[in-house]
Symmetry: C2
Subunit: 411 residues, 2 copies
């Protein structure tokens, strides 16, 4: 039978009632003729609650033990879901990341999947079970329990789908697809029926929360088709998949994203000599802090300013690294500004349409929004603006590119 | 360095504050020169809360999945404790039952430990860690997560102590030792400095909650000395160990226990032929229901009544078995009376003191308490009485044998 992987996020399994509803959906898929593998996150706020308990004890909990603690969350959700499915007369069995053969590197709290050994999952499928797998967790090469970091359950689901040769990986969540902008900020945003891996990765990196960018990268590399859809309503969502150049014809922009959870970091008067940038970003990377929008301008007097954006959540961690780096490279100082927003325009079609950047800057200027940083990739343009201008900027850009319902940007 | 195993129950780790206090005690033991292995239960009411969620979904949760669910409880407690100990600058690492090499049989919910493979725990000790082990759980021979049943953490602790050749197994709990009677019922009860394995097993089987009888049996078989003591106060508790016959001289009774959580079950008019009792009790044992006080009286007309006591908590389960058994053996019917209490007098010395039983029955008669069932072992006499007479009966017997503070039964 064809295999389908379904992933349910924390909101979708946030109560025993919701777990029962998810059980109904799983049983439906099974009855439709699929072998079903379900990946679950922890229920509702469980992960945050566990984290809060650890922080009551110490602000710097031991990473190995924190992973041991947090993995209890998925364990609770997955076993309750298995209980609910079994109660419907449909056989189900749950497996921890370790039992499901999810092998990671040894980086606690932000481990990367290095291999899936799906033997036990396949045996369980062959025994007729719906298989429930804990998201977000794995076993390291040194036999320690690890977690994949926030949003890691998406990656678990895609990796399982790849390892099992599944037909598709359904990401069932509290929104019903990928939109041209966050509908809470721009009510006229439009649901995209299809989006390419590249665009989805840029959208995710730009702050669209619907999918973790690492999971999209994994899906592209292994050719896994992702279906982002609602956990609650049975309506078609958005397919994330390979899109032919032909299909792209005439499509310019797929969406605008806003990210208010990043800070602008600047290293002032960095000596402009080879190897300095490498030193800075290797040090940051070795702490597994994800950064975006690296910008360096031309230098004066042999010195330059180096800016980038980084998650505000990593602030303490980042400042410790930068204190060290500033001394090491002989920069003047660093500043961290958390009053910014990043607005990004994403679209594979912009490659062949010159003038997109100018149109975007123009739209922002017309709204009186000042641009503090600019960074571009072949399919994305990102601007850093003041945080209070963020939502207004998003709506202006969304309108300028005709992305609203019935607008010209439709695919 | 000598190894000490400390077990902390759910009340002792019931909050992050209490976990911090336990961490202090563990670090003290480490600083006193011991290698410390800590076995923890789930925090406070966690196990009951998880069970309640499962029961919200279905009254009959799948046993495999229920074990997966419940084991999340110790996982949370042990990782938080490891975090607290690490925060004190003392290295600690936590291990699940599976990781700690606790191998059980395959009986979900009531698994028995069949083997301890302490390789990973020993390596962790040698690496200088305080080792925290999840109580109550293990890995079955078919690689499934199992639980040992209520109170199983005591058995985990004793089994680890045996496997590691520990100096002692400290059971740290919310009472400061084993008393001649439950001090909440008989305020004049006296703490016993030492009690033999046999007596402790009889006291546990008779309803004393301080230790699980299975853990005492395990300790006796492997010669593990148990020290029952307070988690909160640093005072000597009760040692459970081998006691020489000589030391027993003059000691008659070690305590009186009351159990109000058992029901009296009677099979009426059972055909009196060989093999009937075996059929009944094999069927009950195969469901892993612990029974006590089996009593069969002389028969009339080739039929007899067969009575025993069993936990009220197993009622539904037991009734299902008995429905089947009654038909199979051709008995008339069964009755289950949950309005009873079991009062037991325990003492290794009673072997050599005739008249103890008579004194006990006399004490009950003087209080006007009617005896419904009697069962004796070489070191225990148990009587079933009406539940409302239980506490009064306990106090009467406690006084009759001079067990109160300053009384003649002192060791």
């Amino acid at each position: 039978m064809p295999i389908i992987v379904q992933k349910y996020g924390g909101t979708s399994v946030g109560s025993t009632d919701r777990l029962r509803h998810v059980a109904d959906r799983v049983v439906q898929a099974k009855e439709a003729g699929y072998d079903v593998v379900v990946v679950v996150s922890a229920m509702g706020e469980t992960t945050d609650d566990l984290l809060a308990m650890a922080n009551q004890i110490t602000p710097t909990p031991e990473p190995r033990e924190l992973d041991m603690l947090l993995t209890a969350g998925e364990r609770i959700a997955m076993s309750l879901l298995a209980i609910a499915i079994n109660a419907r007369g449909c056989k189900a069995a749950s497996y921890t990341g370790s039992q499901a053969g999810i092998i990671t590197d040894t980086q606690h709290g932000k481990a990367k999947i290095v291999e899936i050994r799906p033997k036990r999952v396949l045996e369980s499928i062959q025994a007729g079970n719906v298989v429930i797998v804990a998201g977000f967790q794995g076993l390291s090469s040194s036999y320690e329990i690890t977690t994949l970091g926030r949003g890691g359950s998406d990656t678990t689901a895609v990796a399982m789908a790849a390892a099992l040769g599944a037909d598709a990986c359904e990401i069932c969540t509290d929104v019903d697809g990928v939109y041209t902008a966050d509908p809470r900020v721009e009510p006229r945003a439009r649901k995209l029926p299809v989006v390419s891996y590249d665009e989805m990765m840029e959208l995710a990196a730009a702050g669209a929360k619907v999918l973790q960018s690492r999971s999209v990268e994994y899906a592209r590399r292994h050719g896994v088709r992702i279906h982002v859809r609602s956990s609650f309503e049975d309506v078609p969502g958005t397919w994330v998949q390979e899109v032919d150049e032909e299909q792209m014809e005439g499509v310019m922009i797929s969406g605008v994203a806003l990210d208010v959870e990043e800070a602008k970091v600047t290293l002032d008067r960095v000596p402009d000599r080879p190897g300095v940038a490498a030193t800075v970003f290797r040090a940051i990377a070795s702490e597994a802090i994800n950064i975006d929008m690296i910008v360096q301008n031309v230098s004066h007097d042999g010195r330059t300013d180096l800016s980038f954006t980084a998650p505000i959540a990593e602030r303490a961690h980042l400042e410790a690294v930068l204190d060290r780096i500033v001394k090491e490279i002989g920069a003047e100082r660093f500043t961290l500004d958390d009053g910014v927003a990043k607005i990004s325009l994403v679209g594979a079609g912009m490659k062949s349409h010159p003038g997109v950047a100018a149109d975007m800057f123009d739209a922002l200027a017309a709204e009186g929004v000042n641009i503090e940083m600019i960074s571009t990739s072949p399919i994305r343009i990102s601007c850093v603006v003041r945080k209070q201008d963020g939502e207004r900027a998003l709506r202006a850009v969304h309108a300028r590119f005709g992305l609203e319902d019935g607008g010209s940007g439709e695919r």
